[in-house]
């Protein structure tokens, strides 16, 4: 039984990764399980310089999901190189660094961090064009064909030796547009969905619960939206797709892979059950056994439309 996949040149022992922003740089969860079991670790969004992030409260629970508005707080790429990369290299798992343009959010800011990342001993870069909780960058590019193409082209020029994954926003009329733009600009893969912009109001204080007012909705609540978008995006492009959005177990992972995802990420599921990713790997294997699937690659995009 083969669970290995080659995702845009990134070799993973299984299709299960952990989503950026839900797993830090791996240190915390390494106390609970062996990170070498994962297909890949995707780091917290990292910028050229450190970034502070939003005020508290930054998270709250919703029905079958949660909101977050962290604001991409991170210690900067130099800190990552010195502290987190050596730590992560101790594990036998692919390392994908999620990168973005920092406080400035200009194309040059995106280019700056990717120039650094290009030289590191990492397996790939995921470009964040989809965080709904920062003032500059991300959605400013992520919601138009031109925006995605321009920034992907610029990053591609400096990120010559690593696979480039573009992370897409679901806050869009037509998900195939940024998907195609990423492909046209030379990206190696796309990942989706990031969170849906949302708000929760405390009816007693009459204020939004999050200090940032709005936040990104994730969790099982939005899984059906994510499955739909993964299907549409994977049909629109030839590059492979990483699927995420509310995956809590192996069955959910299989649903995303049938829809067209070559690999998947566990996001908020890590918070609910720190072993969610490990159990998802087991769940995928159980499904393969049940249906006598020799190679997990067989099921990618295997949905039969009615």
């Amino acid at each position: 039984m083969n669970t290995q996949i080659n995702f845009a040149g990134i070799k993973m022992k299984n299709p299960v990764t952990v989503a950026s922003g839900t797993f830090g740089y791996g240190r915390e969860y390494s106390e609970i399980f062996d990170l070498s079991k994962l297909g890949a670790v995707i780091t917290k969004g990292t910028s050229y310089k450190p970034k502070m992030g939003n005020k508290n409260p930054r998270v709250c629970e919703t029905t079958a999901g949660m909101l977050n508005a962290i604001g991409l707080e991170n210690p900067g790429v130099d800190y990552f190189i010195e502290n987190d990369l050596p730590f992560l290299k101790k594990f036998d798992t692919a390392i994908i660094v999620n990168a973005f343009g920092g406080t400035g959010g200009t194309i040059q800011d995106y280019v700056n961090v990717c120039e650094v990342l290009n030289k590191l001993d990492i397996d790939g870069v995921e470009l964040n064009l989809s965080c709904p909780n920062v003032k500059a960058g991300c959605l400013a590019y992520g919601t138009t064909y031109e925006g995605v193409k321009e920034i992907t082209t610029a990053v591609r020029k400096v990120l010559t030796s690593k696979p480039l994954i573009i992370k897409l926003t679901p806050n869009i009329t037509d998900i195939t547009i940024p998907a195609k733009a990423a492909e046209d600009a030379g990206a190696d893969a796309i990942s989706l969905i990031n969170t849906l912009t949302a708000m929760k109001i405390d009816i007693n204080t009459r204020k939004p619960i999050l200090a940032n007012n709005t936040g990104g909705l994730s969790g099982p609540a939005i899984k059906p939206v994510a499955v739909r978008m993964v299907y549409q995006a994977s049909k629109a492009v030839k590059i492979p797709v990483m699927g995420l959005g509310g995956i809590m177990n192996g069955d959910d992972a299989i649903e995303f892979m049938l829809a067209g995802a070559s690999c998947i990420s566990i996001g908020a599921g890590n918070f609910v059950d720190p072993l969610c990713s490990i159990k998802t790997i087991e769940g995928i294997e159980n499904y393969m056994k049940k249906y006598n699937i020799e190679d997990i690659n067989e099921i990618i995009g295997g949905v039969q439309m009615n």
């Binding site: 922003g21 839900t22 797993f23 830090g24 240190r27 915390e28 969860y29 106390e31 609970i32 917290k44 450190p50 502070m52 992030g53 005020k55 508290n56 409260p57 930054r58 998270v59 709250c60 629970e61 919703t62 029905t63 079958a64 999901g65 949660m66 977050n68 962290i70 707080e73 619960i209 969790g219 099982p220 809590m248 908020a268 890590n270 918070f271 609910v272 059950d273 720190p274 072993l275």
Partner: protein
Amino acid sequence: MPTKLVQAELVKKQKLITNIFKFSIFSKELVSCAKPGQFLEIRVSNDLVPFLRRPISIHSIDKENNIIEFIFQVKGKGTEILSSKQIGDNIDILGPLGNGTFDLKDYKNVAVIGGGIGVFPLYELVKSSPKDVETNTYLGFRNKELVTLENEFKEASSYFILTTDDGSYGENGFAIDYLKKDIEKKNIEAIYACGPMPMLKAVKKLSEETKIPAYLSLEKLMGCGVGACLGCNVMNVKKGSYDKVCKDGPVFLAEDVEI
């Protein structure tokens, strides 16, 4: 201090007052490394609603019998489900969590101040303090009906004051005012506090005025509880950047944090 994910048995369950429950959990793993001021992240059911774990502070640690206790108030769906657990049930616990703990260091004369449901996390500190440490405990409650753990704290403390806001029990007024009156004459070296935000702010102010260090247990909405999601940030004014309440706290030196 590695984080553990355990399914641990509920061996004793007590209702202290309306809506407030004390759970005693048998777990060698948790007890072996738990410290006063730390907390547990509890998954109340395998359902998707409520979604996130509930952070609940450790109340007491019984190393001899491998029992760890926590006390919680039923506030919503999650704590309601938790309160319905029966003796013998396994509880899904991630913990013990937090590197910022209630640490006595070398202090010999300390004040412990708690308010309302904030008194629970202070108990282990008082209970486990060495005999040569003077523990001066000040507990405040809104009224008589909400008083809990009076006897436990009284027994464990060197000195004990209980106040109610409305004077319906114990001393009349706020615990902080009684602490203020005593602080100099009792030569307090450090303050340990847990309670509502106005109390914590008053303790911070007192600490600034008296230069006596104060350790505050903070509470924030949390995502992961382990330091991965950065959801529970608090400004560390010394560093000029955010700390994580779950990982760097939940107990902080008052002068370090903006509250």
